[in-house]
Amino acid sequence: MKASGLSEFMAMGGYGFYVWTSYVVAAVAVAFEIIAVRARIRAAVKSALRPDRAVPVADDTQ
């Protein structure tokens, strides 16, 4: 694409709303998933390390 300037690039030939909504929604979804999954690890570790939790019992071997 021969965009002569930023405003023309953002306009996307009149389809800016549709194009940029798609890209922004994708970026937000990916960012949210990364934050959520990291928070899930932290929450799992925190919950497993609670002092009132039961003492480890079984070994892992099936």
């Binding site: 694409m1 965009a3 690039f9 996307m12 030939g13 009149g14 389809y15 549709y18 194009v19 909504t21 798609s22 890209y23 929604v25 994708a26 979804a29 990916v30 998933e33 990364i34 999954v37 990291r38 899930r40 690890i41 799992a44 570790v45 919950s47 497993a48 390390l49 939790r53 039961a54 480890p56 019992v57 079984a58 070994d59 892992d60 099936q62």
Partner: protein, 247 residues
Amino acid sequence: MSSIAWFRLASPASFFPLARRLVPWFSAGAAVLALAGLWLGLLVAPTDAQQGDAYRIIFIHVPAAWMSMFIYIVMAFWCAVSLTFNTRLAAMLAQALAPTGAMFTVLALVTGAMWGKPAWGTYWAWDARMTSELILLFLYFGYMALRNAIDDPRRADRASAVLALVGAINVPIIYFSVKWWNTLHQGASVSLTSAPTMAATMLAGMLIMAFAAWFYAIAITLIRVQAIIIEREQNTRWMGELLPWIR
């Protein structure tokens, strides 16, 4: 004796450190591929003669739609493995894939609506392609809801695996819907059996974005499976020893 090594890796205790080591590589690959794909798609690829710049949604839409179906197939595969061999790691991988599959399905539907309005004049139509993709989203939601509804993880594994396997019939229906029915949605843009009809830079951008989505899906699944292993194996001795070191 490679078979022994595979069975050893099928234990969460061996897989957990492997997943941690692999994440940075797939994350970096996803970032580099996404930057290259966005550069090609937004700055290099020419404006389409018919659709103008609206077609640039393709660089998100097609990879997201492919991943939504592909992740479901991989998830169903691990469900089949977990039912057949009664392995926990296979069920954990299926559990880890579902939210990412649902995320890509939402993206495929939203970007499809954003493309449908300028291309067809409507955000949504109840045609076979869109309806079956919406059913895919409900299958992902149903799988996750069923898991959450069952307290015992092993029972949740089995029940949700059956649901996932029955729902797998929907994936070929999505894929072939544009052939089997008269749909508003166009046919496949890329085929293994015929020459591409798109400009080379458009096609390259789309394929690179698809690889980026693939790497991203692997990375995020490997992170989520760690959380699931911590949640489900926290009573084991090896996890008890590892827990203070996980950040």
